[in-house]
Symmetry: C2
Subunit: 157 residues, 2 copies
């Protein structure tokens, strides 16, 4: 079974960095529409989306935000992190088949409350900037190693 391990506050330094990758499928777009309620046809209807300035179906912008949040929660600092703030700028659409890479870098630490600031950069497989922003979290105080739960099968349609 895969394992998640965090980087507790005292192991984080300014400049500590980590990557997290995720590919987007058409199914992910349907699932995002379900959990958010955003059923705009630019995400769901290929014929409609081709007539828009995007020339095809695109992911919901906040899907990229969700992947940033997963990077923070599973990698840097990882399990035990408490998410305080996230600022996001959306720069480019993500399309089914794209793979995005989130790069997180520690830019600030406040010892008293274990607060950590993280620069967040997201690029697609061509290296183009998709989104960027900053996160603020409370980093965990102890090392944690967790088995990654297996998700149940999800069937659409």
């Amino acid at each position: 079974m895969a394992v998640m391990e965090n980087i507790p506050y005292n192991e984080l330094e300014i400049g500590t960095s980590a990557n997290y990758r995720k590919s987007l499928t058409e199914e992910d777009i349907v699932l995002f529409a379900k959990i958010s309620g955003d059923v705009n046809p630019v995400h769901l209807d290929d014929a409609f989306a081709r007539e828009t300035l995007f020339k095809g179906r695109i992911a919901h912008g906040m899907w990229t935000g969700s992947v940033i949040s997963a990077a923070v929660a599973t990698v840097l600092p990882g399990p035990g992190t408490i998410y305080l703030e996230q600022n996001l700028q959306f720069r480019r659409p993500v399309r089914p088949g794209d793979e995005i890479t989130v790069t997180l870098t520690v830019t600030g630490k406040e010892d008293e409350k274990r607060r950590v600031s993280l620069d967040c950069q997201v690029v697609n497989q061509k290296g183009e900037l998709v989104a960027k922003g900053d996160a603020r979290v409370i980093a965990p105080d102890q090392k944690v190693r967790l088995d990654k739960p297996e998700l149940p099968a999800i069937t659409i349609g």
Copy 2:
């Protein structure tokens, strides 16, 4: 079939406001874990989550961000909106069975590029603040009425 209608730039005024509601199910948490990759057991494993400071399973923080994005994309301004920026502060966990209400209020307009700033407040069914933030968007220039696509059935497990 349900219809989505936007509020184009020239109909928006400072103070224009709208609400958007969404309930959280346990299934939504599993789907969010799937599309983001954040499989932390505080979201997925009831026994584990009861031992944490949250005393039970909680939603991923960015699920609330996803619901804010859906409010922007489907209600105010609605279809045709281009999402530029979102700032979020997470204040309180959301649990399965909770219903959150997003309130969006126009706080700024820049005519030249149809840019609109929106205050975003999210409360749970007890009226407690769950998250807050600001969005910046390009509002649509024309009225749009769209049929809301029906999503396919989604089966878990």
